[in-house]
Each structure stands twice: as C-alpha cells, then as structure tokens.
C-alpha cells in the first residue's frame, strides 16, 4: 500500500470516527464532519452544474449567434439573470418571473408524472386483481384470488380513509362513529404493517453499513 493510499484510508477513518462521536454526545467533531460533508457536496454540485449544464446548454449555443438556436438560448439566460438578481435584491418583482416559470413547469411535470407514473398503474393493479381469469381456476372460483382482490381493495380504501377521517375528526372534536372508527383502525393496521416493513428495510441497510464500517476498522488495524 502506497503512502497516498494510507493517508486516504486514515482520512476516511478519522471522518467516520468524527461521525460516530455523536454517540458520545460530542457535537463539535460531529458538527465539523457534517459541515465538511455539506461544503464538499455543495462545491462538487456547483462544479457539476457549471461544467455539465450551464456551460454546454446555456453558454455554448450563443457561439452560433446569427442562428435561431442562439436566439432561443437567450430565453433561459435572461430568466437565469433575473433569478441571480434575487441574490442582490430579495424582494425584486422581476425575480418572480423565473420562479413562476419554474413553478408552472414543475406543476405540469408533477401532474403528468404522478398521473402516468403512480396513479394509473396503482389503480390499474387494483382493478386487474378483479380480472375474471384470476378469480377462477378451471371453471371453479379461486377463493385465494377473490380474497386477495377484496383485501387489496378494502385495505387501500381504508388507508385512504385514515387521512380523511383524521382531518375531519380534528375539525369536529365531538364527531365519532363506531363504523367509521373501525374502518380507520383497519386502515391503521395496514399503515403500521407498511411502515414496519419500511423500517426493517432501512434498519437492515444501516446495519449492513455499520458492519461494513466495523470491518473497515478491523482491516485498518490489520495493517499493523
């Protein structure tokens, strides 16, 4: 192992030990590690944005000036200048124009993405569970398929109802209905199960990282 590799390994070890100092309540070292993470990430992000987006997509097209592409490149450039103006004058009214443009484009992309990417596929998967081919097997009812389809529908409706019912209950304190409360409870069971599974997924990933870190320490100690 070369001296440079050893130094890099040592730097990584020191930085990760600084993060784990959080467990001892030492906020100074943990804070330094976190601010280093933010600083390096921010610097790298700026570099990537400048070299991979701004220069090739906004500045380079200007070199072909009398052509249409150069004139079209002026539009985002103008919007960008208005946005940068916000750094100097925060209450500037003209800065609202690029923000409005971004808001509108984001909202439209959100509507398209959510509808096509989430809402329709999820609703279709519920509807497809009621496909007659899945609910019958060799001319006889497939009770497992039927149960799964109805369970899916009831579960999804109950989960959606939890949020609505909690909101209504907050608005009207005295409002209580055993049937509606029961449906909310049913939905809460599914939410709890889902969060439990997500928690285990996150926990397992964290645990694997922790084990990898301990292995890293053992490997480092093994160098001597």
């Amino acid at each position: 192992m070369s001296t440079v590799d050893l130094l890099l390994l040592l730097a990584g070890l020191v930085l990760s030990l600084m993060v784990f100092s959080y467990l001892l309540g030492d906020t100074l070292l943990f804070g330094i590690a976190m601010y280093t993470l933010v600083g390096v990430s921010a610097g790298f992000t700026v570099l990537v944005l400048l070299q991979k987006v701004i220069l090739p997509m906004a500045i380079s097209p200007l070199s072909a000036f009398p052509q249409t592409s150069a004139f079209l490149a002026l539009v985002p450039l103008l919007l960008s200048v208005l946005l940068i103006w916000m750094l100097f004058k925060k209450t500037s009214r003209v800065s609202g124009i690029p923000l409005g443009f971004l808001g509108g484009v984001t909202a439209a992309a959100l509507i398209i993405g959510v509808t096509r990417g989430t809402l329709v596929p999820q609703l279709l998967s519920i509807v497809n569970a009621f496909d007659p081919n899945k609910m019958t097997s060799a001319g006889l009812p497939n009770w497992t398929g039927i149960f799964e389809a109805f369970m899916m529908l009831a579960g999804v409706v109950a989960v959606l109802f939890v949020f609505h019912h909690q909101k209504v209950k907050k608005q009207k304190d005295a409002f209580s209905n055993s049937w509606l409360d029961g449906l909310t409870g049913f939905g809460q069971v599914f939410i709890g199960i889902t969060f439990g599974a997500i928690f285990v997924g996150l926990f397992s990933t964290g645990l694997v990282a922790l084990i990898a870190y301990i292995q890293y320490l053992v490997d480092f100690a093994g160098l001597w």
């Binding site: 890099l8 730097a11 993060v19 784990f20 601010y35 280093t36 933010v38 600083g39 390096v40 921010a42 700026v46 987006v53 701004i54 997509m57 079209l72 539009v75 985002p76 960008s80 946005l83 940068i84 916000m86 750094l87 609202g96 124009i97 409005g100 443009f101 971004l102 509108g104 484009v105 909202a107 439209a108 992309a109 959100l110 959510v114 509808t115 809402l119 999820q122 899916m152 579960g155 999804v156 409706v157 109950a158 959606l160 939905g187 809460q188 069971v189 939410i191 709890g192 889902t194 969060f195 439990g196 599974a197 285990v200 996150l202 397992s204 990933t205 964290g206 645990l207 990282a209 922790l210």
Partner: protein
C-alpha cells in the same frame, strides 16, 4: 396584486407544457426545448441557493457569530472542492478519488449511525405515542419482517408455512399502495392548484 406576475407566468408555462405533452405528435421539438430551459433555470436556481448558503456563512464568520467555526469548515471545504475541481478538471481521477475519500466514509458512517438511531426511535415511538392500533401493528410488523429478513429459518421445505409466509410478505403492498395513491392524489391536487393560481391566492 404584487404576486400576479409569477402566478400568470406559472399558469401559462404550465398549460403550454401540458398541451405540448398531450399533443406530442405536433409539439415534440418544442417540448424538448421548454424542458431544456427548465433544466437550465432550475440549475441556476440551485446555484443561487448554494451561493446564498455560502454568503450567509461568510457573513457569520465576519460578524463572529456563535459556532462560526462550523462556518469556516463549510466555506473552506466548499472553496477547496470548487477551486481544485476547476483547476484539475471534473474528470480527473485524483480529484474524484479525493472527493470519494471524504464523501463515502461520511455517508457510510451516517448510514451506520441511522441504524442505531432508528433502533432507539422505534422504542421511543411506544413511549411517545402510547399503545395504539398503529404502534402495535408497526411493532409486530417490524419484528416479523426483521425475523423473516434475517433468513435464519428456511420455509421452502414446509408447503403450508411457505404459502403463509409469502402472503404475509405481500401485506405491506396493500398499505404502500394506499399511501402511494394518497400521496399521488395530494400531489395532483397541488399541481392543479399551482396551475390555476389557487395556491398563491389562498396565502
């Protein structure tokens, strides 16, 4: 009245993009152009946000605000990364190795720390929220899936148990589907409110 211009710009750009998307056969080149503009403007917005962060921390250092040591760390690490990257080039292997040396151990250590914090958080949830349908189902589900994911026991050889286990593993899909549809409906509603200017009017 002051907020009218951004609302109108948002509505016009949003509806144009929606129309361009719906009639892609005729508008495909324009759709790409508008999306490119959006990428450039959002990149500049991110740069403005980072510049604002750095300027704020430089101000903290100048006035000697409490905890300005952290601000020094942030500004120095930011400038070092930026200047070195500009000088050596973004694709320089030594530069990338240096960035990896800082970021990877920090991210891995944070991930490991999250495992420990999640553990204490899971215990705390029962103390804070008490015993309810939600907390009990969460706890039981976490224990069950932890046990199943550890893989200590194999159920392949027992046909009856195998079916039960595979059905149990499908249970979180129901809740996840409900949550996804709920979030998607909320996002859709928010997007429509922005396009029709209702989000700003309500403020």
């Amino acid at each position: 009245m002051k907020q009218r211009t951004p609302v109108i710009v948002a509505a016009i750009s949003g509806f144009i993009l929606l129309a361009a998307f719906l009639f892609q056969e005729f508008t495909a080149p324009y759709l790409g152009l508008v999306l490119n503009w959006a990428i450039i403007v959002s990149s500049v917005a991110l740069l403005v946000a980072i510049a604002s962060l750095v300027v704020t921390h430089i101000r903290f250092i100048v006035i000697g605000r409490k905890g300005f040591l952290y601000s020094i760390v942030l500004v120095v690490s930011f400038l070092a990364t930026l200047i070195l990257g500009w000088y050596l080039g973004l694709d320089d292997p030594d530069y990338l190795e240096g960035i990896r040396t800082v970021l990877v151990p920090l991210e891995n250590a944070l991930m490991g720390l999250i495992a420990l914090i999640l553990m204490s958080g899971a215990v705390k949830i029962f103390r804070v929220r008490g015993w309810s349908i939600l907390t009990v189902s969460f706890g039981l589900s976490a224990l069950l899936f932890l046990f199943l994911n550890l893989g200590f026991l194999r159920f392949d050889s027992i046909p009856g148990v195998n079916v039960i286990v595979s059905n149990l593993q499908r249970l979180p899909i129901i809740g996840a589907r409900g949550l996804l549809i709920g979030v998607a409906l909320g996002a859709l509603l928010m997007g429509l409110q922005v396009l029709f200017g209702q989000e700003v009017m309500r403020e």
